[in-house]
């Protein structure tokens, strides 16, 4: 028993520390690293090296908790916008340009901490509530997804319209970002349909089928943006307190938890979309609440989705990490559930501490070294992973996805439209039109 407890503690801590490093590299997703675990496990599962589930499961929880919290570091400190997109940037980046990047990171930590507390508080209810919720909602998933897709498109509105010599030019200026958003949605949906039906990725590495596309859609454009932006980051201050009170924290955490859990529970919906819906639902206009809610939403989405896999009687598999773990082990009963909650709490506490440490380190680094070097390193790692796992075909997919992922960056539309890669093909399949669409596209 004692050995098991020690194993759980050590592996949770190890997972959190590993993800503390991964999380600080811009655009490198924890799932990309987790794939290494799958590949390793597939190779050694039948040997004495086969991983012990009491190590692998808390390790993965530590990995996801750490990444969900520490990922704030590159988002705040390394995702600095250039002057052309200053008005579009997230509040965290505004904080950065005001020398308050550390404060923004800590506000996000408040949200993450609140998210962990909420997950722990709701954990005893989930085994009773989730099976019922799943039974009730499963038949309706299709139209809920379509509704969300429609909301994502319709909730964007024309911006600008002030430049242009003619009315038509000004109309185009106003609708440019909107059209770019729609184009991104359609192109990413098309790409998703191809990847899910007749993927060029070798079948032997099908578990990383979507990885080159995700790297291209979300990772590479961010890195390119960072490399070419050339922004000088002002001097950053490390205050002893943060500008926040209980009400602001409560508002942010509650909105973030709602959005994050919504995204965690519903398939395909991501934390960004969940956060967007929750933000609109709670009419947030306070930047502090917004940052806190984003911190909570991101954590609840990633960690909650993984945690749902362990909820007894629920049989819910959401998120990439749970799907990866499912190929190795399937949790059983309340003991595994309690174990994973313990790992979550432990990893959560450690990662909040690590966020403070890593934020200070990064602040020092970016003031001495050009942060673009980190972006170059990240770019190399990502390309290396894609080529290593999926070969040149994967590289081709990544390049096409990068071009699609650059559209929202260059036209200032929502990057969440790139999630069309999953939402559109899955919604079509759920509606039962998958075979017809595949036939129409010649993909049968």
């Amino acid at each position: 028993m004692l050995v098991s407890v020690v194993k759980i503690i050590l592996s949770s801590v190890a997972g959190t520390l590993v993800s503390s490093l991964i999380g600080c590299l811009p655009a490198l997703h924890v799932y990309n690293v987790a794939m290494l675990l799958i590949a390793f496990h597939a190779a050694v599962a039948k040997t004495a090296w086969g991983a012990d589930p009491y190590i692998i499961m808390p390790f993965m929880m530590g990995l996801i908790v750490g990444w969900a919290v520490l990922n704030t570091v590159p988002a705040v400190f390394l995702g600095a916008p250039d002057e052309s997109s200053m008005l579009m940037v997230l509040p965290t980046q505004k904080y950065l340009m005001q020398g308050r990047g550390y404060e923004a990171a800590m506000l996000s930590a408040v949200g993450a901490l609140g998210g962990i507390a909420c997950l722990l508080a709701f954990a005893p209810l989930l085994p009773r509530v989730l099976p019922v919720a799943r039974a009730v909602l499963t038949p309706h998933l299709f139209w809920i997804l379509v509704l969300i897709l429609a909301y994502m498109v319709l909730s964007e509105f024309p911006r600008g319209g002030d430049y242009g010599d003619t009315r038509l030019a000004r109309l185009f200026d106003a609708w440019k970002s909107l059209l770019a958003g729609l184009l991104t949605l359609v192109l990413s949906g098309w790409l998703g349909f191809i990847l899910m039906r007749k993927s060029p990725i070798p079948a032997d590495f099908a578990f990383s089928n979507i990885m080159p596309a995700f790297v291209g859609l979300f990772g590479i454009p961010w890195v390119i943006q960072n490399i070419i932006s050339g922004t000088e980051i002002p001097r950053q201050y490390v205050p002893k307190s943060i500008d926040c009170n209980g009400f602001v924290a409560f508002r942010g955490i509650s909105a973030g938890f709602m959005g994050g859990f919504f995204a965690a529970f519903f398939p395909i919906i991501t934390g960004g979309i969940g956060g967007l819906l929750a933000g609109h639902a709670t009419a947030q206009n306070d930047e502090r609440s917004f940052i806190i809610s984003q911190g909570a939403s991101k954590l609840v989405y990633y960690v909650g989705a993984f945690m749902l896999f362990f909820v007894p009687m629920a049989s819910i598999t959401r998120g990439g990490l749970a799907n990866m773990l499912r190929t190795m082990y399937v949790p059983h009963g309340i003991a595994d559930y309690a174990m994973i909650l313990a790992a979550m709490a432990l990893g959560g506490c450690l990662s909040i501490f690590m966020l403070s440490v890593m934020s200070r380190i990064v602040i020092r680094l970016i003031q001495k070294i050009d942060y673009r070097y980190a972006s170059y390193v990240t770019l190399l790692i990502m390309v290396g992973l894609v080529v290593g796992f999926t070969g040149l075909n994967g590289l081709g997919v990544m390049l096409v996805a990068t071009a699609i992922g650059l559209i929202p960056v260059l036209f200032h539309s929502r990057r969440s439209n790139c999630m069309g890669i999953l939402i559109i093909p899955v919604a079509i399949d759920m509606a039962g039109y998958g075979p017809a669409v595949a036939g129409f596209l010649g993909l049968t």
Partner: protein, 737 residues
């Protein structure tokens, strides 16, 4: 802040001439000194490039995908790294295709595929399943298919495939079905498909939603048992016409259940009703006529295997010589002048209603299958009970009338013996009756020594053994007659009965054949047999008055635990032939000092009530006693051990008993993983989960090994969308082979 005066790149390039340091704006060359100006790449260019690359790249990817073949993989080479991959596999169907319904709509479909390296389960849902259903797809064991879909790999070696396009399921080759008669079934290998025609002799309706229909069949060579699952039964065309006597053509997979051949249809289309027993035909049959007979001249080899009704005159009746396996042959002739032999074997002969009337000149009607023997057409009798002699030969009639005058008891004397002696029967002592020739109708009185009821699912008769000076005498009584004898009057050990029956010889032993309930009378009641005093037989629950307080006794078949606090425990008890649900609320369950387990025999006091149109017994507090045998391993009858295919349709949480042969033992790779034992029985393959402590508690002999046959009691659970059975106690595993 940015102002028009300082619009320039961070490096100072692009807007100011590096030679004369004057502002040059958007010019590529300085308008003042002519120096070339290095410009940054316009954002517009990057935007256009991104759009062009995205569009062109997508078109290239699409073309590549269109002309790319779906990769084919042997099942054994599928690894966790291939999770979510879209691949195709080619293999043999090892679990037939089954559609699942949600109300009136098709909600899913599933079947199993195996190749030389492994096996996987293929599933499809909603529209894909509906399309397959509309296409009338049938997949049976042994069919060869090529199927492509998305892989799901769970915990290393549990592989399934999601079929997303109906066209990605190709049937490459359908398996052959061997045409057999029912007596040849035992020689057919398990899992082989067979085709035959037979008559329905009995239909046993399921006693719960999860249980199958069981249909007893008979042809001129023997009997058989057919299993049909409710979802298949509901799809059978004209199923309303399926009743006793219906002639059916069946294609089924043969399996063995407790070493008894069992048949299972693999598709609802595999059961075709050839000749229904309509109300008219039943009336005709009662009147001694059968509708729509065909002329013998019209029967040709094109009718091979089809069932026909013929009406013809007996030209010759040849009985087999003693000690041979030759059939009885009736040469039939009709007005067309055509002659055809009608053949049947001794089993069928014993079921004939009027064998003594079959003589040259007699006119009869019969249901028979068109067959061929050594190149000549013949008719094989399919329904012995349906052979009706419409018009006896002159010789038979004259002889019978003479016998009636000489041997029967005068009508005016029948009242004196309480109406128990039937016209046409000679009353005689049992010992003397045994010396009478076959076909002699006798009336005998005797004391019942024991009663051997007909086995559930078989068409064998009930047997009543009477004591006599010459040794025990068997009276056989088929279900049609038996069921008409009132429950209270049925023979029990010690009872004195009188029967009017025909003498016959079966396997060298004389026996009396009781063909009608009117020919039976209970003279002196005997001691109760098997039934505890004061208990009501389960079969009477169906007609018992609602609200009646009853005591019943039976073997626990299944236990359904409630899925919510507003649902009761439901325990199905059986006496081997009838099952009755017993319901109780949680507080009653908790109050039981000894909880019922599958296989134990319980005595229950409760109230008869009705739920959803079906009778059940509601148990109130403290009235559930037992088990009367005390042993949880005891099983009252065959019904308590379910075939493995029942697991897939059993609600999780239900405790059931199954029997199967161990085909694989997967030992855990670590301390927290269970042993996974794969059981098979010809109807399905089921995983039994056994935790390490249970495994270690088993004796070396009881530990599952490949090839061992186990009887297992456990709880059905769902794991990775598949039902399995969890066994939590060493006492719930019994190795029988």
């Amino acid at each position: 802040m940015t102002t028009p005066g300082n619009i320039q790149s961070p490096e100072g390039k692009g807007t100011v001439c590096p030679s004369c340091h004057r502002f040059v704006g958007v010019y590529d060359r300085c308008p003042y000194c002519g120096t070339g100006i290095t410009k940054r790449i316009p954002l517009r260019t990057i935007r256009i490039a991104a759009l062009v690359i995205a569009g062109a790249g997508m078109i290239c990817l699409h073309i590549m995908a269109m002309y790319r073949d779906i990769p084919a993989k042997p099942i054994g080479e599928i690894t966790p790294a291939m999770n979510f991959g879209y691949v195709s596999v080619k293999g043999r169907v090892n679990q037939p295709l089954r559609f699942y319904r949600d109300g009136d709509t098709i909600s899913g479909v599933g079947f199993g595929v195996e190749d030389a390296t492994g096996q996987l389960r293929v599933r499809a849902y909603r529209k894909v399943a509906e399309t397959l259903y509309e296409n009338g797809l049938v997949l049976r064991r042994g069919d060869t298919v090529k199927v492509a879909g998305t892989l799901r790999v769970v915990e290393g070696d549990n592989i399934s495939m999601l079929l997303q396009v109906p066209a990605h399921l190709e049937v490459l080759e359908t398996s052959d079905a061997q045409t057999v008669s029912l007596d040849e079934l035992a020689e057919v290998e398990d899992d082989r498909s067979v085709r035959f025609s037979a008559a329905v002799s009995r239909i046993m309706f399921p006693n719960s939603e999860r249980a199958p229909y069981r249909i007893a069949l008979k042809d001129d060579t023997g009997t058989g048992s057919l299993v049909i699952w409710p979802n298949q039964f509901e799809e059978i065309k004209d199923r309303d016409q399926l009743m006793e006597g219906t002639l059916v053509k069946i294609r089924a997979a043969k399996s063995s259940y407790r070493n008894i051949p069992q048949l299972q249809i693999e598709s609802p289309q595999d059961l075709v009703i050839l000749a229904a027993v309509s109300a008219d035909s039943m009336r005709d049959a009662a009147a001694g006529t059968v509708s729509t007979p065909v002329s013998l001249r019209d029967i040709s080899s094109a009718d091979m295997d089809s069932i026909v009704t013929v009406q013809a005159v007996v030209k010759q009746f040849s009985r087999p010589r003693e000690g041979t396996r030759a059939p009885y042959v009736i040469t039939l002739a009709d007005s067309s002048g055509t002659e055809l032999p009608l053949v049947f074997w001794s089993d069928a002969y014993e079921q004939l209603k009027s064998p003594d009337k079959i003589e040259p000149g007699a006119e009869l009607t019969a249901h028979a299958r068109v067959a061929e023997y050594r190149g000549r057409l013949q008719l094989a009798l399919t329904d012995p009970a349906g052979l009706v002699v419409k018009k006896e030969s002159a010789g038979t009639t004259g002889r019978q009338e003479t016998e009636k005058e000489i041997k029967t008891i005068p009508d005016n004397k029948t009242d004196e013996i309480s109406g128990t002696t039937q016209a046409g029967h000679r009353e005689m002592p049992l010992a003397r009756a045994l010396k009478s020739p076959d076909g002699t109708k006798v009336t005998v009185t005797g004391i019942v020594e024991r009663v051997i009821p007909s086995t559930s699912g078989s068409s064998a008769p009930n047997r009543v053994i009477l004591k006599s000076e010459a040794g025990p005498v068997t009276v056989v009584c088929w279900e049609e007659a038996w069921s008409h004898i009132p429950e209270a009057s049925r023979p029990v050990p010690g009872a004195e009965i009188q029967v009017s029956a025909a003498m016959a010889t079966y396997r060298g032993n004389k026996q009396l054949r009781l063909l009608h309930s009117d020919n039976y009378a209970l003279l002196t009641p005997g001691r109760s047999q098997g039934q505890s005093p004061g208990t009501m037989p389960l079969k009477d629950i169906g007609i018992a008055k609602l609200g009646l307080k009853v005591i019943v006794e039976g073997t626990v078949e299944t236990i359904s635990h409630p899925t919510s606090s507003r649902r009761p425990y439901t325990i199905s008890i059986t006496d081997g032939t009838t099952s009755v649900p017993v319901v109780m609320w949680e507080e009653t369950w908790k109050s039981l000092t000894e909880k019922p387990v599958t296989g134990s025999t319980f005595r229950i006091r409760g109230t008869v009530n009705e739920y959803m149109g079906a009778r059940q017994i509601r148990v109130s507090s403290g009235t559930f006693s037992g088990p009367s045998t005390g042993a949880s391993r005891q099983r009252g009858g065959q019904a308590s051990i379910l075939p493995l295919s029942a697991v897939e349709t059993t609600e999780p949480g239900t405790r059931i008993t199954i029997q199967g042969e161990v085909s694989d033992v997967d030992k855990p790779s670590n301390d927290r993983a269970p042993y996974r034992i794969t059981l098979k029985d010809g109807t399905d393959t089921v995983t039994m989960v056994l935790w390490k402590d249970t495994w270690e508690g088993l004796s070396a002999y009881a530990r599952p090994q490949n090839g061992a046959t186990l009887i297992v009691t456990g709880t059905v659970s769902e794991y990775k969308d598949t039902r399995q059975i969890r066994v939590d106690s060493t006492g719930n595993i019994e190795r029988i082979k």
